[in-house]
């Protein structure tokens, strides 16, 4: 933690957002960003750290959302249990998807996740007894005091903080180093004894868990879900947030999520361009700034406040040396 003060200020600002946000619309956007971030934080370990390019997490999001709507809505189970069940379901589906597809080389894996997202949409429509088919399902809210916009926001904030903390711990400890090694060179990873498939799969299952949780909370914010909500473009969006924010960092993708969710809301012409805009951003970042915008931010910070390079020169001390030699001779 390099800047405890800045961190404390940001945390306080986020926690008190419902008091100073302009209106419910802005609070809604903040909650939406939070739900997206819960998914993206987990996906970040897969895409940004272990380098597996999954474009199909929208399928896992849909599974979490429908899981919650079916368990809590159709069957009337307690929403908290349903939330946990959505997370578990997401993790299970992540496991089932990851086990065969993570063995595949990069492009094959990306196409497998793309196909997975399309299959989920197809099944949601086909199994209309369960999912309501094209008509979709209405989603229940959490019990008091989490049923108001502010309460809902705080709940999402709490889950998002927990997930962020977990990913931060994973990222900076041995696991994160191992994943980065897998991303940069599988051969090296194998050579130094990292269980490659195991590490990738663990990260992927974790991302399934967060996608399930994020899906459940997303469904509550939406209050009604239809198959049209979970288009492939949304999966692209998650993916682009991470790449643009910068791989191998947590702050970068977070800023990416905030900016890319808020920008089209603030500017109507951008919304009109839609995916063209995301594609252009992605291309520019890949060509000009492969480390992501987060890196640019970092460079700017270092320019503003150059890091002091601490040098600890060891001055020669001949007297001690001669003493030691003498002591040895004796």
């Amino acid at each position: 933690m390099k800047h405890p003060l800045a961190f404390a200020a940001a945390a306080a600002a986020l926690a008190t957002l419902p008091f100073w946000a302009g209106d419910q619309y802005q609070l809604h956007l903040a909650a939406l960003i939070g739900a997206y971030w819960i998914l993206i934080a987990g996906l970040n370990l897969v895409v940004g750290f272990s380098g597996q390019l999954s474009v199909g997490h929208v399928g896992l999001l849909a599974i979490g959302a429908y899981g919650f709507a079916i368990v809590a809505g159709t069957h009337g189970v307690d929403p908290w249990i349903a939330l946990a069940a959505s997370g578990a379901l997401g993790a299970l589906c992540g496991f089932l998807l990851g086990l065969p597809s993570l063995r595949l080389p990069g492009f094959y894996f990306a196409m497998a996740t793309l196909a997975f997202a399309l299959i989920v949409t197809e099944l949601v429509l086909a199994l209309d007894g369960l999912t309501g088919g094209g008509l979709g399902l209405s989603v229940p809210t959490f019990p008091e005091p989490f049923d108001t916009p502010a309460g809902n926001y705080w709940l999402i904030l709490a889950v998002a903080s927990l997930v962020t903390l977990l990913t931060w711990n994973v990222a900076r400890l041995m696991w994160g180093r191992g994943l980065i090694c897998v991303r940069d060179s599988v051969v090296t990873a194998q050579a130094v004894g990292i269980p490659v498939l195991h590490a990738k799969l663990a990260a992927f299952v974790f991302s399934g868990l967060t996608a399930g949780l994020g899906g459940a909370l997303f469904a509550v914010i939406q209050s009604y879900i239809t198959p049209d909500t979970f288009l492939f473009e949304l999966g692209m969006f998650f993916f682009v947030c991470i790449i643009i924010g910068g791989r191998g960092s947590i702050l970068g993708p977070f800023l990416g999520t905030v900016v890319l969710t808020a920008l089209p809301e603030l500017s109507a012409p951008l919304a009109k361009l839609g995916n063209f805009f995301y594609g252009l951003l992605l291309l520019l970042v890949v060509l000009l700034l492969p480390e992501g915008i987060g890196r640019l931010f970092q460079i700017a910070m270092e320019r503003l406040r150059p890091r002091r390079i601490e040098s600890m020169p060891i001055a020669p001390h001949p007297q001690r040396l001669t003493d030691a030699i003498k002591a040895g001779q004796r």
Binding site: G133, Y224, K272
Partner: protein
């Protein structure tokens, strides 16, 4: 700016103030429209009607001296965006009434949100589940329901051309699956079980099998429930190429002008009948209802005398929604949501261009059954159609 113009401007403001135009805040109408993205053609036409009506009302001094102010938001057909924008309209823009969204998938998501925000909502999506006087007391539907379309088409197939062996074709999109299901249910209620029913991917390149199977099952009428014009055109083409002269009866998209380009031969579009509206159907002498003709004349005045190459009813519907707002505000004497709700609940036979609307405390569907009529799909001319025989 010259002094003279400043003075003139000041005088105009003073005059306006005196006559009360500025005395009250404008009536803010939120308009959720999918102007880009898939299914944008209906929204673009509706948008013309909405804007036209707002301009017209403002030109004649507004409603009760208050100007109308249109706040348009493009949802691009995406439910997530629609929810965001619905909240934006409700809480940031603080609109008095919301029209839309256009697509049912978006409406399903926004209606509960606007209901919770307590904002009157005029619905123009046709899925039956959208309105509910208890859950969403502020939501009033101006368009017909899906069920009304299907019932009209079923009535035509069963009672007018007296067919009993029906093949139902839906597409695998959300709207297609639910419509095909409703259609099959309604047919079974009428005592007719479809001899063949299938769901097809809207982008499927070839329908030969499905049509062959329908034919083998002995179908004597094919009823497609899909809004995908590409799919409907392929259905018409396959039927034509096979030389099978079975009537096709179904969704209004069957008579979209775009179909003309997509069919292999013009005659393939014949013997196809779709659910349409009395308001945009020519009578025996080739005349449209007076209200529709009046709207066309006004549109011609604004956009030139050229032929209308889009479906007129979308424009009429958009035009009417604003007129309904005008009516409700006048009756309610203001923009208080409760008063507007009461005003709409007590509305009986409000004449519009698109339809005559009636709502009540229990009934939130304003469109009367008898204003749906079956049209000859290939009879498109100047925005309107001929009735099916």
């Amino acid at each position: 700016m010259s002094l003279r113009r400043v003075l003139l401007g000041t005088a105009a403001v003073a005059l306006a103030w005196a006559t009360g135009v500025f005395a009250q805040e404008p009536i803010r109408i939120g308009w959720l429209s999918s102007l880009t993205g898939p299914l944008s053609s209906a929204a673009i036409a509706e948008n013309q009607g909405v804007q036209f009506a707002v301009e017209e009302i403002n030109r004649t001094g507004g409603v009760n001296g208050r100007k109308l102010e249109l706040v348009t938001r493009d949802t691009a057909g995406d439910p997530t965006k629609a929810v965001n924008l619905a909240k934006q309209l409700a809480f940031t823009e603080k609109v008095h009434v919301v029209i839309g969204p256009v697509n049912s998938g978006e409406s399903l998501a926004t209606v509960p949100i606007l209901a919770r925000a307590g904002i009157p909502n005029l619905i123009i999506g046709s899925v039956d589940e959208l309105v509910d006087p208890k859950k969403y007391p502020n939501a009033f539907r101006a368009i017909n329901t899906n069920r009304q379309w299907i019932e009209a088409a079923n009535h035509y197939a069963l009672d007018v051309i007296k067919r009993r062996k029906i093949a139902v074709i839906g597409d695998t999109s959300g709207y297609g699956t639910s419509s095909a299901k409703t259609a099959a249910e309604l047919l079974e209620k009428a005592g007719v079980k479809p001899v063949y029913s299938v769901l097809v991917d809207p982008n499927k390149t070839d329908l030969t099998d499905e049509v062959n199977k329908a034919r083998a099952a002995g179908a004597d009428v094919v009823m497609p429930w899909s809004a995908a014009t590409g799919l409907l055109a392929r259905l018409l083409n396959t039927r034509g190429d096979m030389d099978w002269n079975v009537p096709i009866v179904g969704h209004p998209a069957l008579m979209a002008p775009a179909i003309r380009e997509l069919v292999n031969k013009p005659e393939y579009w014949g013997n196809a009948v779709a659910a349409g509206y009395v308001s945009t159907t020519y009578d025996d002498k080739g005349r449209l209802p007076a209200a529709t003709q009046a709207l066309i004349d006004k549109l011609h005045g604004k956009m030139g005398k050229g032929e209308i190459d889009y479906m007129l009813w979308w424009v009429a519907l958009g035009y009417d929604t604003v007129k309904i707002v005008e009516h409700a505000v006048k009756q309610a004497g203001g923009t208080d949501p409760k008063a507007i709700r009461r005003a709409l609940e007590n509305t009986r036979a409000l004449p519009g261009v698109y339809a005559t609307y009636s709502w009540s405390a229990q009934q939130r569907n304003g469109f009367p059954d008898h204003q749906i009529v079956m049209n000859q799909a290939n009879s498109f001319k100047d925005g309107a159609y001929r009735a099916a025989k």
